[in-house]
Protein backbone atom coordinates (compact mmCIF):
# COMPACT_ATOMS: atom_id res chain seq x y z
CA UNK A 1 0.00 0.00 0.00
CA UNK A 2 1.24 3.46 -0.90
CA UNK A 3 2.34 5.47 2.10
CA UNK A 4 3.05 9.16 1.59
CA UNK A 5 6.10 10.29 3.53
CA UNK A 6 3.89 12.86 5.15
CA UNK A 7 0.53 14.15 4.02
CA UNK A 8 1.84 17.70 3.71
CA UNK A 9 4.91 16.83 1.64
CA UNK A 10 5.33 19.89 -0.56
CA UNK A 11 8.77 19.07 -1.96
CA UNK A 12 7.39 18.76 -5.51
CA UNK A 13 5.62 22.11 -5.53
CA UNK A 14 8.14 24.23 -7.37
CA UNK A 15 6.09 24.60 -10.53
CA UNK A 16 3.05 26.43 -11.79
CA UNK A 17 1.09 23.22 -12.37
CA UNK A 18 1.53 21.87 -8.85
CA UNK A 19 0.57 25.16 -7.24
CA UNK A 20 -2.48 25.32 -9.50
CA UNK A 21 -3.35 21.78 -8.40
CA UNK A 22 -3.02 22.56 -4.68
CA UNK A 23 -4.91 25.85 -4.92
CA UNK A 24 -7.62 24.16 -6.97
CA UNK A 25 -8.15 21.65 -4.16
CA UNK A 26 -8.12 24.25 -1.39
CA UNK A 27 -10.48 26.59 -3.26
CA UNK A 28 -12.76 23.64 -4.04
CA UNK A 29 -12.96 22.65 -0.37
CA UNK A 30 -13.72 26.26 0.56
CA UNK A 31 -16.48 26.42 -2.07
CA UNK A 32 -18.28 23.25 -0.96
CA UNK A 33 -18.21 24.63 2.59
CA UNK A 34 -19.70 27.86 1.22
CA UNK A 35 -22.37 25.95 -0.74
CA UNK A 36 -23.57 24.34 2.52
CA UNK A 37 -23.82 27.79 4.14
CA UNK A 38 -25.58 29.18 1.07
CA UNK A 39 -28.26 26.46 0.98
CA UNK A 40 -28.81 26.95 4.70
CA UNK A 41 -29.14 30.75 4.38
CA UNK A 42 -31.49 30.56 1.37
CA UNK A 43 -33.59 28.08 3.36
CA UNK A 44 -34.86 31.04 5.45
CA UNK A 45 -37.07 31.84 2.43
CA UNK A 46 -39.39 29.18 3.83
CA UNK A 47 -39.68 31.06 7.13
CA UNK A 48 -41.48 33.93 5.46
CA UNK A 49 -40.83 37.31 3.97
CA UNK A 50 -39.81 39.12 7.16
CA UNK A 51 -37.11 36.76 8.38
CA UNK A 52 -35.62 36.44 4.88
CA UNK A 53 -35.52 40.20 4.31
CA UNK A 54 -34.05 40.78 7.77
CA UNK A 55 -31.29 38.26 7.06
CA UNK A 56 -30.57 39.79 3.62
CA UNK A 57 -30.28 43.26 5.19
CA UNK A 58 -27.81 41.85 7.71
CA UNK A 59 -25.82 40.14 4.94
CA UNK A 60 -25.60 43.34 2.88
CA UNK A 61 -23.43 45.06 5.51
CA UNK A 62 -19.97 46.20 4.31
CA UNK A 63 -18.24 43.28 6.07
CA UNK A 64 -20.21 40.74 4.03
CA UNK A 65 -19.68 42.74 0.81
CA UNK A 66 -15.94 42.44 1.36
CA UNK A 67 -16.34 38.70 1.98
CA UNK A 68 -18.37 38.51 -1.27
CA UNK A 69 -15.43 40.05 -3.13
CA UNK A 70 -13.25 37.27 -1.72
CA UNK A 71 -15.81 34.62 -2.63
CA UNK A 72 -16.02 35.96 -6.20
CA UNK A 73 -12.24 35.66 -6.43
CA UNK A 74 -12.16 32.07 -5.12
CA UNK A 75 -14.97 31.11 -7.54
CA UNK A 76 -13.18 32.67 -10.51
CA UNK A 77 -9.86 31.04 -9.65
CA UNK A 78 -11.51 27.62 -9.36
CA UNK A 79 -13.63 28.11 -12.49
CA UNK A 80 -10.81 29.31 -14.74
CA UNK A 81 -8.21 26.87 -13.50
CA UNK A 82 -10.96 24.28 -14.08
CA UNK A 83 -11.15 25.44 -17.71
CA UNK A 84 -7.40 24.83 -17.91
CA UNK A 85 -7.84 21.31 -16.47
CA UNK A 86 -10.47 20.53 -19.11
CA UNK A 87 -8.33 21.94 -21.93
CA UNK A 88 -5.39 19.83 -20.72
CA UNK A 89 -7.53 16.69 -20.33
CA UNK A 90 -9.62 16.85 -23.50
CA UNK A 91 -8.07 19.29 -25.94
CA UNK A 92 -4.39 18.44 -25.89
CA UNK A 93 -3.32 21.41 -23.81
CA UNK A 94 -0.75 19.60 -21.64
CA UNK A 95 2.31 21.14 -23.28
CA UNK A 96 1.01 24.67 -22.90
CA UNK A 97 -0.51 24.30 -19.43
CA UNK A 98 1.68 27.03 -17.89
CA UNK A 99 0.81 29.59 -20.54
CA UNK A 100 -2.82 28.53 -20.26
CA UNK A 101 -2.66 29.06 -16.51
CA UNK A 102 -1.29 32.57 -16.85
CA UNK A 103 -3.73 33.53 -19.61
CA UNK A 104 -6.80 32.16 -17.84
CA UNK A 105 -5.80 33.62 -14.47
CA UNK A 106 -5.34 36.98 -16.15
CA UNK A 107 -8.86 36.69 -17.59
CA UNK A 108 -10.18 35.63 -14.18
CA UNK A 109 -8.43 38.60 -12.58
CA UNK A 110 -10.07 41.04 -15.00
CA UNK A 111 -13.51 39.53 -14.27
CA UNK A 112 -12.72 39.62 -10.54
CA UNK A 113 -11.84 43.31 -10.68
CA UNK A 114 -14.96 44.15 -12.70
CA UNK A 115 -17.29 42.10 -10.50
CA UNK A 116 -15.69 43.43 -7.33
CA UNK A 117 -16.27 47.00 -8.49
CA UNK A 118 -19.97 46.17 -8.86
CA UNK A 119 -20.12 44.47 -5.44
CA UNK A 120 -18.28 47.33 -3.70
CA UNK A 121 -20.65 49.73 -5.47
CA UNK A 122 -23.49 47.97 -3.65
CA UNK A 123 -22.26 49.19 -0.27
CA UNK A 124 -24.68 51.89 0.80
Amino acid sequence: MYKPRKPYDLSYTHFVGSWAWILHRLSGLALIFYLCLHVWVIHTLTQGEQSFNRLMTFLSSPLFRVLEVGLWGVILFHAFNGVRVIIVDFFGGALMQKKLFLALILLAFILWAAGSAVIIGHIH
Binding site: L29, L35, V39, I75, V118
Partner: protein, 119 residues
Protein backbone atom coordinates in the same frame (compact mmCIF):
# COMPACT_ATOMS: atom_id res chain seq x y z
CA UNK B 1 -5.29 -8.80 1.64
CA UNK B 2 -8.40 -9.94 -0.25
CA UNK B 3 -8.42 -10.10 -4.05
CA UNK B 4 -9.59 -6.86 -5.52
CA UNK B 5 -11.17 -6.29 -8.92
CA UNK B 6 -9.02 -3.41 -10.11
CA UNK B 7 -10.83 -3.24 -13.47
CA UNK B 8 -14.01 -2.47 -11.58
CA UNK B 9 -12.50 0.14 -9.24
CA UNK B 10 -10.68 1.93 -12.05
CA UNK B 11 -13.84 1.99 -14.17
CA UNK B 12 -15.78 3.52 -11.27
CA UNK B 13 -13.05 6.09 -10.67
CA UNK B 14 -12.98 6.93 -14.37
CA UNK B 15 -16.72 7.51 -14.43
CA UNK B 16 -16.50 9.85 -11.44
CA UNK B 17 -13.57 11.63 -13.11
CA UNK B 18 -15.64 12.21 -16.27
CA UNK B 19 -18.76 13.25 -14.33
CA UNK B 20 -16.64 15.75 -12.39
CA UNK B 21 -15.76 17.45 -15.69
CA UNK B 22 -19.30 17.31 -17.08
CA UNK B 23 -20.75 18.82 -13.89
CA UNK B 24 -18.00 21.47 -14.02
CA UNK B 25 -19.27 22.60 -17.44
CA UNK B 26 -22.87 22.75 -16.18
CA UNK B 27 -21.82 24.77 -13.12
CA UNK B 28 -19.61 27.12 -15.13
CA UNK B 29 -22.54 28.21 -17.32
CA UNK B 30 -25.24 28.28 -14.64
CA UNK B 31 -23.05 30.03 -12.05
CA UNK B 32 -22.33 32.83 -14.50
CA UNK B 33 -26.08 33.29 -15.14
CA UNK B 34 -26.77 33.04 -11.39
CA UNK B 35 -24.20 35.71 -10.55
CA UNK B 36 -25.31 38.15 -13.24
CA UNK B 37 -29.05 37.79 -12.54
CA UNK B 38 -28.85 37.78 -8.74
CA UNK B 39 -25.83 39.86 -7.88
CA UNK B 40 -24.75 42.10 -10.73
CA UNK B 41 -28.04 43.38 -12.16
CA UNK B 42 -29.72 45.80 -9.78
CA UNK B 43 -28.46 47.65 -6.73
CA UNK B 44 -27.41 44.58 -4.74
CA UNK B 45 -30.41 44.35 -2.42
CA UNK B 46 -32.12 40.99 -2.48
CA UNK B 47 -35.69 40.79 -1.21
CA UNK B 48 -38.17 37.98 -0.68
CA UNK B 49 -40.36 39.45 -3.40
CA UNK B 50 -37.62 39.44 -6.06
CA UNK B 51 -36.64 35.86 -5.32
CA UNK B 52 -40.19 34.52 -5.14
CA UNK B 53 -41.02 36.21 -8.45
CA UNK B 54 -38.06 34.41 -10.07
CA UNK B 55 -39.11 31.14 -8.44
CA UNK B 56 -42.63 31.43 -9.84
CA UNK B 57 -41.27 30.14 -13.16
CA UNK B 58 -40.98 26.34 -13.31
CA UNK B 59 -38.33 26.55 -16.04
CA UNK B 60 -36.16 28.82 -13.94
CA UNK B 61 -36.62 26.44 -11.00
CA UNK B 62 -35.60 23.50 -13.16
CA UNK B 63 -32.28 25.21 -13.92
CA UNK B 64 -31.88 26.07 -10.23
CA UNK B 65 -32.40 22.48 -9.09
CA UNK B 66 -30.08 21.23 -11.85
CA UNK B 67 -27.53 23.81 -10.68
CA UNK B 68 -27.96 22.65 -7.09
CA UNK B 69 -27.61 18.99 -8.04
CA UNK B 70 -24.53 19.62 -10.19
CA UNK B 71 -22.97 21.76 -7.45
CA UNK B 72 -23.58 19.21 -4.70
CA UNK B 73 -22.27 16.36 -6.86
CA UNK B 74 -19.20 18.31 -7.97
CA UNK B 75 -18.39 19.49 -4.44
CA UNK B 76 -18.87 16.19 -2.64
CA UNK B 77 -17.17 14.19 -5.39
CA UNK B 78 -14.36 16.74 -5.16
CA UNK B 79 -13.99 16.06 -1.43
CA UNK B 80 -13.90 12.35 -2.24
CA UNK B 81 -11.21 12.87 -4.92
CA UNK B 82 -9.03 14.77 -2.44
CA UNK B 83 -9.67 12.25 0.34
CA UNK B 84 -8.82 9.29 -1.89
CA UNK B 85 -5.24 10.55 -2.03
CA UNK B 86 -4.83 10.42 1.73
CA UNK B 87 -7.26 7.87 3.16
CA UNK B 88 -6.46 4.25 2.40
CA UNK B 89 -8.23 2.28 5.10
CA UNK B 90 -11.39 0.44 4.13
CA UNK B 91 -13.41 1.55 7.17
CA UNK B 92 -12.46 5.22 7.04
CA UNK B 93 -13.38 5.35 3.34
CA UNK B 94 -16.72 3.69 4.00
CA UNK B 95 -17.48 6.18 6.77
CA UNK B 96 -16.51 9.13 4.56
CA UNK B 97 -18.60 7.93 1.61
CA UNK B 98 -21.58 7.49 3.93
CA UNK B 99 -21.15 10.97 5.40
CA UNK B 100 -20.80 12.55 1.93
CA UNK B 101 -23.87 10.75 0.58
CA UNK B 102 -25.90 11.77 3.62
CA UNK B 103 -24.73 15.38 3.37
CA UNK B 104 -25.59 15.38 -0.34
CA UNK B 105 -29.09 14.08 0.29
CA UNK B 106 -29.70 16.64 3.06
CA UNK B 107 -28.47 19.55 0.90
CA UNK B 108 -30.50 18.38 -2.08
CA UNK B 109 -33.60 17.94 0.06
CA UNK B 110 -33.31 21.31 1.83
CA UNK B 111 -32.51 23.18 -1.40
CA UNK B 112 -35.26 21.56 -3.47
CA UNK B 113 -37.80 21.99 -0.66
CA UNK B 114 -36.97 25.71 -0.50
CA UNK B 115 -37.47 26.16 -4.24
CA UNK B 116 -40.73 24.16 -4.26
CA UNK B 117 -42.20 25.88 -1.21
CA UNK B 118 -41.43 29.43 -2.36
CA UNK B 119 -42.15 28.83 -6.06
Amino acid sequence: MPEKDFNETSRRGGTLWLLQRISAGVIFVLLLIHYVTYHFIGDGTITYQQVSEKMASPWFNLTQVLFLFAGIFHGLNGIWMVAEDYLHGRLVRLVLVSVLLLLGLVLLFVGTATVLKVG
